[in-house]
Amino acid sequence: MLSTIATAAWSSPTIDYHALAPEIILGAGIVLLLLLDLFLSDSRKWMLTPVASFTLLGAFVPVLTLALSNAGTREMFDGRYVIDDFSLVMKGLFLLSGYVVVLLAADYIREGDYYQGEFWFLMLSSLMGMVMMASSRDLISIFVSLEFLSIPAYMLAAWRKRDSRSNEAGIKYYLLGVFASAIMLYGMSLLYGITNSTKLTEIGASLGSNLTSIRALAVFFVVIGFAFKISAVPFHTWAPDTYQGAPTPVTAFLSVASKAAGFVALVTVVYVGFPGSHAVWQPVFWILSAATMTLGNVMALKQTSIVRMLAYSSIAQGGFILMPLAVAGETGVAESALRAVVTYLIVYAATNLGVFAVVMVVARKTRSGEISSYGGLFSYAPGIATLMTIFMASLAGIPPFGGWFGKFAAFQSLVSAGTTWAYVLAIIGGVNSVVAFGYYGSILREMWMRPVPDGDTSPVPVKSSLAVALGITGIATLLLGVLPGIVIHFGDLAGLAGAFGR
């Protein structure tokens, strides 16, 4: 068998630097941060923040140029690393949400007495992993980028070293994450064994649509790995604890970016890797979706801490995003399902980041994470309260705020499948969207209809960076709701769905 190695001719891979530009810029930024962190005196550590943010924006520029240069899909390493519209959109999403997270974190980090340098470093590395994930089309690269984005995330969660909760959050996230990826790896190993390849397209080709128990097992385990990332019930258990314990900006980061990354991986694997074996993953996604949104909503109803409630809410949202995947295998649905997922992710990112921005703004004043601390917010901070209202409405899917269109797209692809199961899931989704308002509404109720708990109605100070974050997310949410045409253009990508062409 060594002969095989000997005979394997070496051909140096061609590298498309334009295509790799985002990763390169990001990498450079990471190194730069590391060095600056080493050499700058603490008094001038504040410079790290602008560096981080500009790195992200800088990395976003080539994404744009790539998008505008309609050279179609660029492949590297014989199709194991692909830059197509889909990956570009997702990269853009990651980078921008990363930028917003920087805005959220800026003051938080500067005021917390922890090392700024490593925070930015870790966050950017994690983003790096996500950006790579968007392009990976090979089990190995997917695995690598998954860990690349996860490991720094573990550390970010535990970033407040001396805070036992943060610590707990980190460890739980870490242990379960590793465990999940271990199971996923086992599945991958089986896949490799069956198909004798790690390249998704080849796997897809050789898997075909005929299933054996072992293939099903392999597919299932791989799916589980990502189901963990998107905290789908019953692999969600880490999420609430971690979100609650981790620093708020990190929570925002996890609940938006890393969830999105999980979905990207999932979609990639499913669309490119197992298009044929939808007999396995469709029911799996159906169950996951139903369970996720139901349990997420139901649990959220009982929460008193806003962050924890948001954790469950984001779990539930994950369930909604899963809905279209449960029918993606039906003929002709793949495209609209993909569109729905991407659309929903974009809308969700904008809204949820906005929510966390508000949470941070309010927390700065009330110094409390309890829902009750929002009492009477409208009476003394109408602006903030209105924004929060918009975000909550959007999460609840009420027109004309972004969320409704995300849900609409999801329902649309479900109904377009037209199967009984699809309708049933749609009904479940509908009922859940009503239940969801139970807790979103409870926040609205606090803000509008309840008295101020401690009678302190001094105006809420809003740091400039947070203000910018609020502005961006708020406008985005509104715009996406009123003119969803914009976002759908990004979501309208046939790139991956082509795998279903057969």
Binding site: M1, I140, V144, I151, N167, Y174, V178, Y186, S197, D241
Partner: protein
């Protein structure tokens, strides 16, 4: 060839690892159990790689080993942190947040 024995071995290791993760309260032991799972994966990969006569398996295994090392590094660091904070590495004590 004798792939199956390897696979069975791997499966056994996998199960042991899983058992460890679920049953052990000691953080370090849990870490080790996870390593066990990863190694079972490696065995799988190598076995398949041998059978299929392609190098991807080996490559994959190498990546896994490397990353596993990194993971364990982070993991141990966190456990250390935990020990600093609460003078214990019993996972059951990590239930401040629940519900």
């Amino acid at each position: 060839m004798f792939v199956n024995q390897f696979l069975i071995l791997a499966a056994v290791l996998f199960c042991i690892g899983v058992y460890g993760v679920i049953a052990r309260k000691n953080a370090v032991l849990v870490l080790m159990s996870i390593e066990l799972i990863l190694n079972s994966v490696n065995i799988n990969l190598l076995a398949f790689s041998m059978r299929n006569g392609s190098l991807d398996g080996h490559t994959f295994a190498l990546y896994i080993i490397a990353i596993a090392a990194a993971e364990v590094g982070v993991g141990l660091a966190m456990v250390l942190l935990m020990y600093r904070n609460r003078r214990s590495i019993d996972l059951d004590e990590l239930s401040e947040m629940k519900g």
